[in-house]
């Protein structure tokens, strides 16, 4: 088995896990029209970014490129000799890659503002901030030949474009799924209600993700269960809406057997039957199935939370040509397949599906299923400025979510 999602992979060196979680990710409301936003531009889309010209044409490489990336996005074989798409890039283009791994979106923004880096794998909560501050330039997608093969569902989204101008190249995506053991849960669930039901027959055997970002899952459920709360975006909650989500999660705690934060723990408890239903990642489902445990997953009717990242180029990049070559490389079928398989997410390039070492990889991760991803609300870090565009209230930020999470766990 490949080591999946190394960003989350170290049990107990859990620091990375929660950090990444909060930060991985696209902007809120995958299907919503309000789209993502940032502090600089609540409501996304509605602002005019500084006028910066995209690169017109590609010149020769500058010999090197400086990247800011999430762990696992620019592997050079140092974690696993077989996992290496950096050296082949260097060989093919003559651009030496210098990678700076960032732990949080804030760190990414700060690093990019130093002007020392050429490209960044920005998450949804960082991308618009970078655009609004003029730190990154629009991307001339004509100079990225592989862009034409990127899934339409990822192009020109609120978190990677402004007013129809592309600011980045989509990297990959994934959804948080509902998983259950078919031997215990006879009636296949189609709603998150099964993990929130106060009279659940699976009391003590329900699991949930151990991070404040899981509050968004409760908010997502409340969007359809309690429409009167008026939640438009699970990442934009005012005090009242957050309280409703917190109350729901406190009630859910009665049924929780354990919260999971590293995936090995989730795999083991589903395997042993200590957990019979709860939120999961595709990669966990694969591992449990590989161990012959009877589990099934679904994307519930309410939709789900998930993540999607974007590669962007610095406005003042010193090595723009090598940066463009990297952007093209990372979404080239072979490299995109490698990074998707290593990280455990759906690739962004449609042709990557032919290059995966596991031939059914794309089917498993629903890479080509736009209908599926239209229901995914990509992760974003909640901030005080409401991401759904409301200006009459103040939304709750991530540190409030964190305290709420402590309170929920009691």
């Amino acid at each position: 088995m490949r080591s999946p999602r190394p960003r989350f992979a170290r049990p107990s060196l859990v620091v990375t896990a929660a950090l990444a979680l909060a930060a991985v990710a696209g902007c809120g409301g995958g299907s919503s029209t309000t789209g993502g936003g940032s502090a600089a531009a609540p409501g996304g889309g509605a602002f005019t970014p500084p006028k910066i010209e995209a690169l017109k044409s590609l010149g020769p490489g500058e010999g090197q490129v400086n990247l800011v990336a999430w762990a696992g996005y620019a592997e050079d074989g140092s974690n696993d000799p077989k996992v290496d798409w950096v050296h082949p890039f260097e060989k093919a283009t003559g651009c030496t890659v210098n990678t700076k791994t960032a732990g949080t979106s804030d760190e990414m923004v700060n690093l990019m503002k130093t002007g020392e880096y050429d490209a960044v794998s920005a998450s949804g909560d960082a991308s618009l901030r970078l655009i609004a501050s003029g730190t990154v330039a629009p991307v001339n997608t004509d100079l990225v030949p592989n862009y034409k093969d990127v899934f339409e569902g990822l192009k020109l989204k609120p978190w990677n474009s402004v007013n129809g101008v592309a600011y980045g190249i989509p990297h990959g995506r994934g959804a948080n799924l509902l998983m259950w053991r078919t031997d215990t849960v006879k009636q296949a669930p189609d709603s998150w209600g099964v993990v929130f039901d106060p009279n659940s027959p699976y009391k003590g055997k329900v699991t949930a993700y151990d991070s404040p970002i899981y509050i968004a899952d409760a908010a997502l459920y409340l969007m359809s269960a309690k429409p009167e709360l008026g939640i438009k975006d699970p990442y934009a909650l005012d005090d009242k809406q957050l309280q409703a989500a917190v109350d729901l999660l406190k009630q859910q705690k009665q049924n929780i057997g354990e919260y999971w934060s590293d995936y090995t723990k989730a795999v083991q408890s589903f395997k042993s039957g200590d957990t019979v239903v709860g939120t999961t990642w595709q990669v966990i489902a694969n591992l449990v199935e590989a161990d012959k445990a009877p589990v099934k997953t679904t994307l519930p009717k309410e939709g789900s939370t998930g993540w999607s990242d974007t590669w962007m180029v610095a406005a003042k990049a010193k090595h723009p040509n090598c940066a463009y070559k990297w952007l093209d490389w990372i979404i080239s079928p072979k490299a995109n397949a490698q990074v998707a398989e290593w990280f455990g997410e759906a690739p962004s390039n449609a042709k990557a599906c032919e290059q995966t070492s596991d031939k059914s990889f794309c089917d498993t991760y629903h890479a080509t299923d736009e209908e599926y991803f239209s229901k995914v609300h990509y992760w974003t870090t909640p901030i005080a400025q409401c991401l759904d565009g409301r200006t009459d209230v103040k939304c709750t930020d991530y540190s409030e979510w964190t305290r709420a999470w402590t309170e929920i766990k009691g």
Binding site: V14, I383, S399, G410
Partner: protein, 289 residues
């Protein structure tokens, strides 16, 4: 020629240095103590001071940067938040339970090692007690996770009890070793004398063995208590849905990037340990260590 002079010179130098140090006791002492004191002062107390100072700062909501302006807000939140009191009390309860269990398990074990086993067996027993310390903390915690899972050997499930059991296992050597050392220093003649004077097992224990090994037991309890109080990984692995102080610190620092509040929470175990040490000092155990 050169070698000859150096070899001739260096013993002379050394002798002079030695006699200088012999005459100046203060210099000798300060040389010996400078490294450990630097460590204690800079690395240890310095880090604690930094922690304490950070606790009075806050973070900027938008940028996430630390704002270096004095505020009591973190401590106000900490004191007024009911959940933090619950978590702190739970952590103390876990630490106390672990200490008690370890004491009960370790004492007979240490007694057997020190008084009943042959010198040869003693050596092997000490090695046996130390062996688990060679294995990774994580491996041991996950091993307990497997044993406690419902299809495992024990099958007790996860939760607070599981956490206490696992921590008791993890910290047991830290309790056995000090008590063993304490019992070794206890002369056998005292036990014989107690027997000659008609004391049975329990009475000998109560009036002779326990008072003399109490300081050693206290030393062990400081280890088990403080180690349990700071733990957050075991509870993540076998704790089910519970959380301890360590988890609150971790959540605030790791996920929310709120270093000041995490620092404020982290002062709680420091205060608890200070209270504990003060209580121990009052019993006089520290003087007899």
């Amino acid at each position: 020629m050169t070698t000859l002079t150096t070899t001739a010179a260096s013993p002379g130098m050394r002798r002079r240095a030695a006699s200088f140090l012999h005459r100046h006791g203060g210099v000798r002492l300060s040389l010996l103590l400078s490294a450990p004191l630097a460590w204690l002062g800079l690395a240890y107390l310095g880090a604690l001071a930094a922690l304490f100072v950070t606790a009075f700062w806050s973070t900027d909501v938008f940028t996430g940067d630390v704002v270096k302006v004095f505020t009591w807000a973190n401590f106000t939140d900490l004191v007024t938040g009911e959940v933090y009191r619950t978590v702190a009390l739970r952590s103390i309860g876990v630490a106390a339970a672990v200490t008690l269990i370890d004491l009960v398990v370790a004492f007979p074990m240490a007694f057997a090692m020190a008084k009943l086993a042959s010198p040869r067996a003693q050596r092997w027993l000490v090695i046996a007690v130390l062996t688990p310390l060679w294995a990774s903390y994580l491996v041991k915690a996950y091993a307990w996770r497997v044993m406690l899972s419902s299809d495992g050997v024990l099958g007790w499930g996860y939760g607070l009890t599981a956490t206490v059991v696992t921590l008791s296992y993890l910290w047991l050597p830290y309790m056995i070793l000090p008590i063993y050392a304490g019992l070794e220093r206890l002369p056998n003649s005292l036990l014989d004398a107690a027997g000659d004077l008609g004391a049975r097992g329990w009475r000998t224990f109560r009036t002779v063995v326990w008072p003399l090994t109490f300081p050693a037991a206290v030393a062990g309890s400081i280890f088990t208590f403080s180690l349990s109080l700071g733990d957050y990984i075991t509870v993540k692995i076998v704790g089910g849905k519970t959380q301890l102080i360590g988890n609150v610190v971790y959540d605030n620092i790791g996920a929310a990037n709120n270093l000041p509040f995490a620092a404020a929470v982290a002062t709680v175990p420091v205060v608890i340990m200070l209270v504990y040490l003060a209580a121990v000092r009052r019993t006089g155990a520290l003087e007899n260590l």
